[in-house]
Symmetry: D3
Subunit: 194 residues, 6 copies
C-alpha cells in the first residue's frame, strides 16, 4: 500500500528547494526528528512559505505575557473551532510537550470551559474564539475582561494575532488537504520515562 | 473635533519606523497619494508588518490565471462575509479602480450571485466563500466545478490562499478596530473625466 | 450592450400605470432627479405597490423621537444583515444625504458597533437587528435598555416597525432581483461644493 | 384573575377608532364571531393598520394560481420558521378551516417535508422558506424548480410576497407580544358535525 | 384511501410481539383509549423498545421537584427546538391534560419566553433548551441561575436528563418518520364539560 | 493535589450500589483494566443507569451490517459534532482498538470527509451527522444514497439509532461534566508490540 498523499498539491523534493527554505526544513527536522508536513506541503509555493513562517515566528516566538504553552492552547482551541485536522493534531502534540500535560490538548480542542486550565487561560481562549468565529462582534468590554485577568493590551494583540494567523493556517491546511504526520498523534502522550 | 483614532493600538510615527518599513510606506504613499491606514496601524509590530505584506504580495502580486480585479473580488466578497469594514472599503476602492467599474465592489460585498460578473467569476467567489466560511466542507467536487470553468489547480490555490490570507487580515482589522481612510470611500466611484 | 434588467419581472411603462401610481412616481422623479427602481419594479403589482408605499410612509414619515437619519440607519443596518443590495445601496445614499456624512452608511451596513454614531444610536441598531434576525428572543430587558437611552415605548415601536417593514422590503428586492439605480452608488459621497 | 394583556402596547377601544378601521373590525367580527387580536393591537397605529391590511389583502385575496389553503400553508410554514406564536395559532386555525383538515397546520408549522400535502405544495413551501430565511441565496434554479411543478412566474411572486409580508407580520407580532385569541387554538380541529 | 403509514419501517402486529411488550402496550391502550404510535413503531426493535421505555419511565415517572406538567413542558419545548412533529403533537396533548390548560403546549413549543408560565418555569425551559441545543456551553452560572429559582441539583439533573432523553426520542421519530395519532391533535383542547 | 472530580454530581461507592449494577461494573473493570467513568458517574441514578446501558447494548451489540469499528466511528463523529469531550476521548480509544488504527479516531472526530475510511463509511457518517444535527431535514433521498452503498434499511436504523443514542449520551456527559479517565487518552495509540 502506497503512503497516503500529504497534500492535494505537488510536494517538492528537498533538493529542489531554495537554499533558505531547505535550511529551515533541515533545522526543524534536526530538532523534531522528522519534517512536519506543513513545511513540505507549503514549500510548493516558496514565496508564500517564507511569508507564512515569518508570520508564524513573529507571533509565536515573540516575547510576550503569554507562555509558549498558552500560545499553543490558542492554536489548538481555534483550530478545533475551525475543524482543521492538521493543526489540531500537530499543535496538539506541541501543546502536550510544552505544557507537559498529556490531556490538555484534547480538552481545549473540544471544550476549553471544562479543561484543566486556569480561569485566566479560560478568559484568554474565550477571547481567541471570538476572534476566530465572530470578530465583528468584538467590543470594548471584551478587552476589559482580559485586563481584569491581568492581560496587557500587547498580550491581547498576541492572543488575537495568533487566532488570526491560524484562521489563515487552518484554511490553507483544509484547502490543500494537508495530512498530519503520523508522529504527531502520539507525541507527548507518554508519561516521562515510559 | 479631533480626528478619530485609526487603531485601538498606538500608531507609530513614520520617522520612528525601521527603514525597510518606512520605505515601503513612502512608496505606497507616492503611488496612492495617501497612506492607507493598514500600513500605519500594523507598523506597531514591525515583524508582523513585514510578514503581513510579504504574504500579501506573495498571493496578490503573483502571476496567476486570475486578473488583478478578480483577486480583489475575492478580497471584497470574503471581507463582506466576515463583516470587516476596513477591507470592504479599502479593497472595494481598489476593485473599482482595477475593474474600471464603480458598482462591482458593492455588489460582490453583498451578493456575488447577482453581481455584474461572469459565471466563471461567480464560481470563483462561491469557492472563495466556502474557504472563508466552511473550509472543513471542501470536497473534491468543489475543485472539479472550478476546473469546469477553466481554472487550473494553481489558480484554485490562488483563490483559496487569498481567501485564507484575508481571513487573517479581516480578523486583525477587527481586533485593532482599524479605520478606513476617508479617501477610500470615494475612490473609483466617479466616471472618467468627472 | 443593452441596459441590464432592473427586475426579474416585467417592468411596466409609466404611461400604462394607474394615475395614482404614476403621480407618485413623477413626484419622486421630480424630487430625486431620477426614478428609483423600487417604484418601477413594484408597480408591476399596483395593489401591492400602493400598500407598500403606504406602509413605508406610515413608518418612515411619521413624527417620531427618531430623526430621519436615524430611521435610515435602521434601514441600512438591517438590510446589511439581510444582504439586500438594493436597500443597502439606495438607502445608503439617502442616509448619506440626511446625515450629511459620506461614510456612515458603509459603516452601519457592515458593523454598527464601530460606526461614527452615538451610543444611543448604537443601542437603537442593536435592538433593530434583534428584531430583524431573532425577534422571538425579544425580552423585557431589551425594552428597558432602550428606555435607559431615552427612547419612549412609541420610539421603540418605530424602531421595530422599520426593521419589520424592511424585512419585507429586503425579501421582495431579493425575490425579484431588484437592481439599484446607478445614481445611488455615488449620491451623498461628494463633499459639499465639489 | 384579570385577562392577560393582548399587546405590550395600549389597545384602543373600538369606539375611539377612525370609522374606516372600526368598520373593518366590525366586519371581521361578524364573519368570525370574535375580533382577532391583530386587528385591535395594530389599531394602536391607524396609518400602519391601514397599510398592513391593504398589503394583507393585496397578497392574500388576489386571484392566483394558489388556493386559499395553499396561501395559508405559506403563512403557517414561514411563521413556524420565525417562531411567531400569534401567526402560527391564528393562521393555523384559518388553514384548518380552508383545507378542511385538522392536522395540516401543525404539520407544516413543524416540518413541511413530512406533511400530508402534495409534492407541488412541498416545493412551494421549500421556496417560501428560502425567501423567509435566506433570500440572498435565491437563484434561477429555484424558480425553475417551481416552474417544473406548474407554477407560473406570477404564482412565484405570490409565494414570495406572502413569505415577505409575514416576515413583517411575524416581527410586529413578536415586537408587541401579540397574544392569540383563545378561540383560535380550537378552531377547525373538530370533525364536522361534532 | 388507505391509512397513511405511521412509520418508514415495518410495524409489527400486536400478536407477534413478546409478551412483556404486548402487556405494556395493552396497558397504555386501556388508559389512553388508543395506542400511541411510538409504541407500535418502536416495537419493530424489541430490545430498543424495552430500553427506550425503561429510560422514559426512569426520567419521567421519578419522584422529583418538578411536577408532571413541568416535565412535559420540557419535552414540548425541546421537541419544538428539534422540530419533531410526533413529540410536539403527542406530548403537547399530554401537557394540556396535565396542566389542565388548552394553550400552554402551543405556547412553549414556539416561544417559552411569552408563555403563560411562571418565571421559575421559564428558567427551567431556558436551561433545558441549552442542554438540547448547545450543551457544550453549559457553565456553572447556569446551575446557579436555577438554584436561584429553588431548583436543587437533583432537579437540575431531571431537567437535563429529560432534555437529553428527548434529544434521542426526537431523532428516532424523525429517522423513522413516526406519525402522530390523529387523537393527539385534539386531546386536551376542549374545555371541561364540553 | 487532589484528583479532579469526575462528575458535577456525587459519585457512589461501588459497595453502595445495587448488585446488578455492581456486577456490570466489575465485569467491565475486569475486561478493560479500569472502570470507565461513565459507569461510576451515571450510577448516581440506578434506574437511569440500567436503562442507559440496556439501550447502549441494544444498539451497539446488536448483530448488524455495520462492524464494531463502524459503530464506534458513528459515536466519535457525532460526539465531535456535539463537542462532547468524554465521548470523543473514551470512544475514540475504543475505535482505535477495534479498527487497529491509531489515527482514525482523531480523523473522524474532526472531519470524516478526509479520514482514512472507505466511501461507504463516509456516506454512513454523513447520514449519522444529519441525524445528529438536522434530523428534521431527513429525506427519502438520504436513505437512497445509503442503499446505493449497500446499506439495508435495518443498517440505516442502526446508523440513526446510534447517532440518536449518543445525542442523549453527549448531553448527559456535558450536563454532569463527566471527565474521561486518563487511561483513554493513550489507549490504542501505540503500535503493536510497543
Amino acid at each position: 500500500m502506497p503512503a497516503p498523499s500529504i497534500s492535494r498539491y505537488p510536494v517538492p523534493k528537498l533538493e529542489d528547494l531554495p537554499e533558505e527554505i531547505r535550511a529551515r526544513i533541515l533545522e526543524v527536522q534536526e530538532k523534531a526528528g522528522f519534517i512536519p508536513n506543513v513545511f513540505l506541503t507549503l514549500a510548493h509555493r516558496p514565496e508564500e512559505f517564507k511569508a507564512f513562517f515569518a508570520y508564524h515566528d513573529a507571533v509565536m516566538l515573540r516575547e510576550s505575557g503569554l507562555t509558549k504553552a498558552e500560545k499553543e492552547m490558542i492554536v489548538v482551541a481555534t483550530s478545533g473551532a475551525n475543524d482543521c485536522l492538521y493543526c489540531i493534531v500537530a499543535h496538539g502534540a506541541i501543546l502536550r510537550v510544552y505544557a507537559k500535560d498529556s490531556r490538555v490538548a484534547d480538552q481545549v480542542a473540544v471544550n476549553y470551559r471544562k479543561a484543566d486550565i486556569s480561569d485566566r487561560q479560560r478568559a484568554m481562549l474565550k477571547f481567541a474564539l471570538k476572534v476566530a468565529l465572530r470578530s465583528v462582534e468584538l467590543d470594548e468590554v471584551d478587552y476589559q475582561e482580559l485586563h481584569g485577568h491581568g492581560f496587557s493590551d500587547e498580550d491581547i494583540w498576541d492572543i488575537g494575532a495568533i487566532a488570526a494567523f491560524f484562521a489563515l493556517s487552518n484554511r490553507m491546511a483544509n484547502l490543500i488537504a494537508m495530512r498530519p504526520n503520523d508522529e504527531f498523534y502520539l507525541l507527548g502522550r507518554l508519561p516521562k520515562g515510559a
